[in-house]
């Protein structure tokens, strides 16, 4: 009886889920991407990425509402495959990266939906302006990676209106679009 009790106690101590404490994961920049597309004069979409992304994700497997995420993107790392256009996007006409170097998303609440779907509500800050927004989020696999570390992943597709963040240059009919489609995909490694 005492042996069984001691065994149960030992299991309780070593089981990570027994504490129901959020676990910290750090974003792996090499396997994380932020891709966006925006309407160009009504003719087509221009695609771009941000190369420099970092952040942390706190995951509570038992109680997902206690999970959180904090992501920072360096605005100067924008890349649309045209050097001249990237310089223009970094200038005060658009991102004004010297004055507003970071684009951030800080979650306030996480709600689990069906299956691996979640809804993350938080504050998105861009160009010196912050807005509350809710992002549909899909959780991917969690498990051991080839290097023996615990790794998780997720993705989100959402849209923002750049005018809501004071980025008004070339805004209007048949100019550069207002709505920006954002595709975020990340992997994070458990600390």
């Amino acid at each position: 009886m005492i042996k069984a009790f001691a065994f149960l106690l030992a299991v309780a101590f070593v089981s990570p889920s027994s504490f129901a404490k959020p676990e910290k994961y750090t974003l792996d920049p090499a396997h994380s991407s932020v891709v966006f597309k925006i309407d160009h004069l009504g003719f087509s979409y221009v695609y771009g990425t941000f190369e420099d992304i970092s952040g942390t994700v706190m995951i509570d497997e038992k109680n997902p509402s206690k999970s959180s995420m904090n992501i920072t993107i360096k605005a100067a790392s924008i890349d649309t495959n045209v050097k001249k256009r990237d310089e223009h996007l970094r200038s005060p006409d658009f991102f004004n990266v010297k004055q507003f170097p970071n684009i951030t998303f800080k979650s306030d609440s996480v709600r689990k939906l069906k299956g691996n779907k979640y809804e993350v509500t938080g504050t998105f800050s861009l160009h010196g302006k912050s807005q509350k927004m809710t992002v549909p989020f899909e959780r991917h696999r969690t498990g051991k990676d080839p290097w023996g570390k615990i790794r998780t992943g997720g993705s989100a597709d959402f849209t923002i209106k750049r005018s809501e963040y004071g980025m008004n240059y070339m805004l209007g009919k048949d100019q550069v679009g207002d709505v920006v489609h954002v595709f975020l995909s990340f992997e994070a490694v458990k600390d």
Binding site: K84, H88, S91, P92, D93, N168, M170
Partner: protein
């Protein structure tokens, strides 16, 4: 679109400003400084408002402060005109404005080890001294018989070249801003050529020289452009300074405009050409 924007943000304010300067030209002393200071502040604020497409964003510090530079400069025009304050208050105004402009960059400075080695600090000090010096010189030379020609031509060429430079350096906002300054300078020059100089030296030096140099400082702070290249756009004023010892007697205004214009254009044209060569053309 570009032509329409140019007409609304540059041509209309410049035209109204020059005609109203002509109308208020016969006024004397402080009254003329006050009225023309108001006209300059109004026209340039309107032009900047049109360039930014409305004042959606208005914060203390950074690029947004370009919005309220004209009204602040109006205060300094009034104070210097009314109380005869000059050199030191101008330095205080310029230092304050450069601090406001560069304020958002402070976190990137290591203020605990405050030294002149910090790039932003050096750039700030350089632009404070440049604006202070040229503002003071401009105020003196715009007021002197005949010399207004070389100084106004200097403004036209310097700010026109800066507008082209920023176009190649990928900032439509800065390009339009300097387009506005160049158009105002050109229009003032044209009206003065036809009817004689009727502009307050205090207003002209604050708005045709100090304000654009402060905008150059904003360009240095918020764009990946070497501040030395931006300072070089003030070289036409050095040409105007070298012109000083040469007699202004029997001045032929048109000849002066052509010679000074060509000399100034030669000096800053090289900078614009380099920017053009380095770019793949104007904004894509």
């Amino acid at each position: 679109m570009i032509v329409e924007s140019f007409i609304k943000s540059s041509l209309i304010p410049a035209l109204f400003l020059s005609l109203l300067c002509l109308a208020t030209g016969p006024l004397k002393g402080f009254t003329r400084d006050l009225f023309q200071g108001l006209l300059f502040a109004g026209a340039l604020s309107f032009g900047i408002y049109m360039i930014r497409g409305g004042m959606g964003q208005f914060e203390l510090g950074g690029m947004e402060s370009l919005f309220y530079l004209p009204p602040i400069l109006l205060l300094s025009v009034i104070f210097t005109g009314r109380f005869g304050l000059g050199f030191v208050p101008r330095l205080a105004v310029v230092s304050g404005l450069v601090l406001v402009l560069s304020h958002p960059l402070f976190p990137s400075l290591d203020l605990s080890s405050f030294s002149l080695g910090d790039v932003h600090l050096r750039v700030a000090v350089a632009f404070i001294l440049l604006t202070w010096a040229l503002w003071s010189m401009g105020e003196r030379h715009f007021a002197e018989e005949g010399r207004w020609v070389s100084w106004t031509v200097g403004c036209l060429v310097a700010w026109g070249a800066a507008a082209l430079f920023f176009l190649f350096e990928s900032s439509a906002l800065m390009s339009q801003l300097f387009g506005l300054f160049a158009t105002v300078s050109g229009m003032i020059l044209a009206v003065s050529f036809l009817f004689g100089w009727k502009v307050s030296a205090r207003a002209a030096s604050a708005y045709l020289m100090a304000l654009p140099i402060l905008c150059l400082a904003a360009g240095a702070f918020y764009m990946e452009v070497s501040s030395l290249r931006l300072v070089a756009f003030c070289l036409p004023f050095l040409v105007a300074l070298f012109r000083l010892p040469v007699s202004y007697g029997r001045l032929k205004v048109l000849r002066e405009i052509i010679v000074m214009g060509l000399l100034s254009a030669l000096v800053v044209g090289w900078l614009v050409y380099q920017a053009y060569k380095a770019s793949s053309g104007s904004l894509y």
